[in-house]
């Protein structure tokens, strides 16, 4: 299942439902950014070796599966640990599940950790896609975000990646930080596209509960303004579009054929395994997740137990609602189904349609005002099955 060449067609996005993927969580960072609410740790590098062993053990404990079409190493900061560790994990995944030919193997990296040596080691380990946490090219914004790199580190790390042989390079940007101006955001976008990334993700800065940023805002620090963020989003659409990057999900743009296959699998309701503390998976119609605390995770693994701490079956009607939930963030929207009918037949769906938030195009339900996607999602999550609906009996697993 390759998506080479041409725009991503609706048929292609749905093919990803058949793909299988794996996520590997690397929680270690040199410092924790003030806006981050992921399962991360800083200053715990002495635990890295033990953690990698844990992840290897978790992989061995998990049932053997089909060959993986994509693997994604996220964090935390995977580039913060020795590539040799990442290689051991990748090798174990390959021997336990198998890797499909031409599979996409992604790693997240921070510009400050990423030089020519690191790049080559990652290529040698088997990675073929790298995603940089660039965030901004404005020094003031980077400082406000607590980032430890400068604009020129981004250029250097992208150059290293290209030289080492990464043909698929992505970059994350954050917009709407209160110290950012319209001009500085345009400049960031221009500098980003000048480096010719294959893929760009743009995220509105979000004040997540429990983060240092949240505490600062509660104490009176400036909060991101949603209207300003809407303006910036529209600017991104324009600048990235002009550079040949098409938006295929609310926050993701790519050159044709360079969409993140791992993410497309998730959004097509394809299955994915997951390893590491706080990691989430979707296997056999059940969404489940691991314990979030690093010590608790290691404790469970070392006692020989799988570290799962919670699960949500999404079968039958729930599965249909879930399909819309994950699928509607894509520009291609979702294909027909009872959930789509239910939404279009509901009063809420009617309102959404009248407000120009959703539409039916070529038989697919699409969100036409992506900045209001949550309005659609709240409605979707509230959908009830049509009268007479019976959840199909569970298939035997295996």
């Amino acid at each position: 299942m390759t998506c080479d060449g041409g725009l991503l067609s609706p048929a292609d996005v749905d093919l990803h439902a058949e793909a299988v993927a794996a996520y590997v969580h690397i929680p270690f960072c040199s410092a924790v950014c003030p806006y981050c609410d992921f399962a991360v740790v800083a200053g715990a590098d002495e635990q890295i070796g033990r953690y990698i062993d844990g992840v290897l053990a978790e992989i061995e404990m998990s049932p053997r599966w089909r060959q993986l079409d994509s693997v994604y190493f996220g964090g935390g900061t995977p580039s913060h640990v020795d590539p040799a560790h990442l290689r051991r994990i990748l090798d174990t995944l390959a021997s336990h599940h198998g890797l499909a030919d031409g599979s996409e193997i992604s790693v997240e990296a921070n510009p400050e950790d990423f030089g020519p040596d690191r790049a080559s080691e990652l290529i040698a380990a088997g990675f073929n896609r790298v995603s940089f946490g660039a965030q901004s090219f404005d020094g003031a914004v980077l400082a406000r975000l607590g980032r430890r790199h400068r604009a020129r580190d981004i250029e250097a790390s992208l150059a290293s990646a290209r030289t080492a042989g990464f043909e698929n390079v992505s970059m994350d940007l954050i917009f709407g930080t209160p110290v950012e101006s319209d001009e500085s955001w345009v400049a960031t976008l221009r500098k980003a596209v000048a480096l010719e990334p294959d893929h760009v993700s743009c995220y509105a800065l979000t004040v997540e509960p429990g983060t240092p940023l949240h505490r600062e805002v509660k104490a009176g620090a400036a909060a991101p303004d949603p209207d300003t963020q809407a303006d910036r989003y529209e600017t991104a659409e324009q600048v990235l579009g002009e550079a040949g990057l098409g938006r295929y999900e609310v926050s993701n743009w790519s050159r044709p054929g360079h969409e993140s296959r791992y993410n497309l699998t998730v959004w097509a309701q394809g299955e994915y395994e997951a390893y590491g503390n706080g990691a989430h998976r979707f296997v056999d119609g059940v969404r489940s997740h691991n314990v979030r605390r690093l010590d608790a995770y290691l404790g469970r693994i070392e006692r020989g137990e799988r570290p799962i701490s919670g699960s949500e079956p999404v079968r039958g009607w729930d599965g249909e609602v879930d399909r819309l939930f994950v699928g509607l963030r894509r520009s291609a929207g979702v294909g027909p189904g009872p959930g789509v009918d239910a939404l279009l037949g509901s009063r809420g769906g009617d309102l959404l349609r009248h407000a120009g938030v959703i539409d039916v195009r070529e038989g697919r339900l699409v969100v036409t005002r992506p900045l209001l996607t949550d309005e659609v999602h709240r409605q979707v999550l509230d959908l009830r099955p049509p009268q007479g609906w019976v959840d199909a009996p569970e298939r035997d697993n295996l």
Partner: protein, 602 residues
């Protein structure tokens, strides 16, 4: 058995806060009705709200025993009265059971509006009025000036005005002597057929309806078969007794006595306050003069925030009515607020108290619509229709004149503030009547003002323009035609019934602008622009817009986020379900409450 010559029935009447409850406490204490040990402040104010707000809502009654210097024992029945204008009908009820009244006036504040209103009621009822200046212990007390004010109102000479401190007890003993000496004893005929006045009633969860009665002629004996002359019902006197203040059963209440009666009746509306009781076996020929039933003056829609609470609200209103016969309601449906009741109140304080009791004692969450008065509309066929809710006002095309209730307002003020008050009254469409000086510094002003203006904010404005020195009392007056219009508020083109109001044409734009401005701040941004308009008929008189929201989306939703984001969004959805849909606009419950609050800028 007490000889009538040894009975004195009296009330204390006063402007609010002049010390009625405190004086009652002293009297109870000095006559030994309540042990000094058991004494807690304001013994007669039993309702929680009365204690908290320091106002007397329900009249209470108590039997005191007083021994004069010569050792003669007297029974003094003290019938407490409420001090607020909303409850003046209760004052007249209490007065009907008495031969005399203590007119209590604060030594610093002097005569106030309710002092006058109550004094007139007592004089009209033919009672012996004993003027009393209270709070002489205050540094600011000016009893000589106050004595002049009082004699200007009720006549008599300044020397006849008693001077006391209910707080310290000074002069209270002497006051008891005046009660005995000046108030005439009851003069009914103990041998005539029974006639007793029901002057109050309340509901007791165990005993059913308890009536407060004043026996005028004959004897009320426990076990009697009684006839209620107005309703025609007959009931047995299951128990009669006196209040000391604890209820104490007795075999018989003689002519002149005040006490209570329990018949076993459970439904309060079967007993009519003001009715005359007689002996079913040998009934009296003529009933005692009753009194007019209180008429609600102010109406407001009460809606449960949670539609499922409608039945609970009905039950709560029914329970409240057990102790408050003046409470009236009918079901009302609002497109915006769902099912509720249009409730009639005696006044604004009454409205506030009822609402608070419903929320507090019955644990209800309510939205109350803006208070309105009862308008009279002449229909094309010449009939007159009463309109208590703006929703019910027919279109201008299908109705004739509208008239609105006026009140006769009595304002007492230091003379310095006459100017500002006249300005205010003019702005409120009032009409100036007499002006008379109680003393060189104090003036009584007499006005006719539309009740709707009083209901709106008149009292607060009066207080703020006179630094709190002016006082107001009013009574219903005639209806007058006026150029009244209905102002509708439209959200996204749809009228929201709950926000409609009937106002004078000259004030319509004002109301419209304020309401649309408020709502703009209260309605959250939606997926589209929401115009908020005020309109008279089809004509828009003001407009605001809630701009469409532009961004409502989670930045990231990847494999690790699905379950968490679903939970977050589901929770948000639950929050939204508590909003009311007005057409396609989501309006938070709080917006109704806040928009309809009659405060600060309105």
């Amino acid at each position: 058995m007490t000889n009538q010559a040894r009975i004195r029935n009296f009330s204390i009447i006063a402007h609010i806060d002049h010390g009625k409850s405190t004086l009652a406490d002293r009297l109870l204490e000095m006559t030994g009705a309540v042990d000094a040990r058991d004494m807690r402040e304001q013994v007669l104010d039993t309702m929680d709200l009365e204690r908290e707000r320091g106002i007397t809502i329900k009249a209470q009654t108590v039997r005191l025993t007083h021994r004069d210097e010569g050792g003669e024992e007297y029974v003094l029945n003290l019938i407490d009265t409420p001090g607020h204008v909303d409850f003046s009908y209760e004052v007249s009820r209490s007065l009907a059971a008495c031969e005399g009244a203590l007119l209590l006036v604060d030594a610093a504040q002097g005569v106030q509006a309710q002092t006058l209103a109550n004094a007139y009621l007592a004089v009209e009822a033919g009672l012996e009025v004993i003027p009393v200046i209270n709070k002489i212990d205050l540094i600011a007390a000016d009893p000589d000036r106050v004595a002049t004010e009082i004699t200007n109102v009720i006549g008599g000479s300044a020397e006849d005005v008693a001077r006391i401190s209910a707080k310290t007890g000074e002069g209270v003993e002497g006051l008891l002597q005046r009660v005995v000496g000046l108030i005439p004893p009851p003069s009914g005929d103990p041998e005539a057929p029974l006639r007793a006045l029901v002057f109050d009633s309340y509901y007791d969860a165990y005993r059913g309806v308890v009536c407060y009665v004043r026996v005028v002629d004959g004897r009320l004996r426990s076990g009697f078969k009684l006839k209620f002359m107005a309703t025609g019902e007959t009931h047995d006197a299951a128990e009669v007794g006196v209040l000391t203040p604890a209820a104490k059963p007795v075999n018989v209440l003689e002519a002149g006595a005040v006490g209570y009666l329990i018949t076993g009746v459970k439904e309060i509306d079967r007993i009519k306050v003001g009715d005359t009781l007689t002996d079913a076996g040998s009934p009296a020929l003529e009933a005692l003069a009753g009194y007019a039933e209180p008429k609600p003056m102010v109406f407001s829609g009460l809606f449960p925030t949670d539609g499922d609470d409608f039945e609970r609200l009905r039950e709560a209103l029914e329970k409240l009515r057990l102790n408050d016969g003046s409470l009236m309601w009918e079901p009302e449906t609002s497109r915006a607020l769902g099912f509720g009741f249009r409730v009639g109140f005696l006044g604004l304080l009454h409205m506030e108290i009822v609402r608070e009791r419903l929320e507090r004692e019955y644990d209800l969450d309510l939205v109350a619509t803006a208070p309105s008065v009862a308008y009279r509309v002449t229909m094309p066929d010449g009939t007159i229709r009463e309109i208590k809710s703006p929703q019910d006002l027919p279109d201008p095309g299908s109705r004739g004149d509208i008239s609105e209730p006026y009140v006769r307002a009595m304002i007492l003020t230091p003379s310095d503030y006459v100017g500002p008050i006249m300005e205010l009254v003019t702005a409120k469409r009032g009409e100036m009547g007499n002006m008379s000086y109680l003393s060189p510094e104090r003036v009584e002003l007499d006005y006719r003002i539309p009740l709707s203006e009083i209901v709106f904010d008149f009292f607060d404005l009066l207080k703020s323009r006179t630094k709190g020195y002016a006082s107001l009392d009013y009574e219903a007056d005639e209806y007058r035609t006026a150029d009244l219009v209905k102002v509708d508020i439209l959200l996204n083109g749809q009228p929201v019934d709950a926000f409609s109001a009937i106002v004078h044409r000259d004030k319509a734009t004002d109301y419209g602008t304020k309401m649309t401005g408020r709502l703009r701040g209260l309605i959250p941004r939606q997926m589209f622009d929401v115009p908020i308009q005020a309109a008279i008929g089809g004509r828009i008189i003001s407009r605001e817009t809630v701009k469409a929201k532009r961004k409502d989306v989670i930045a990231k939703c990847y494999g690790g986020d699905v379950t968490r984001k679903k939970k977050l969004l589901t929770k948000q959805k639950e929050g939204k379900k508590r909003m009311k849909m007005v057409g396609s606009v989501e309006v938070p419950q709080e917006a109704f409450v806040a928009a309809l609050r009659v405060d600060d800028d309105m």
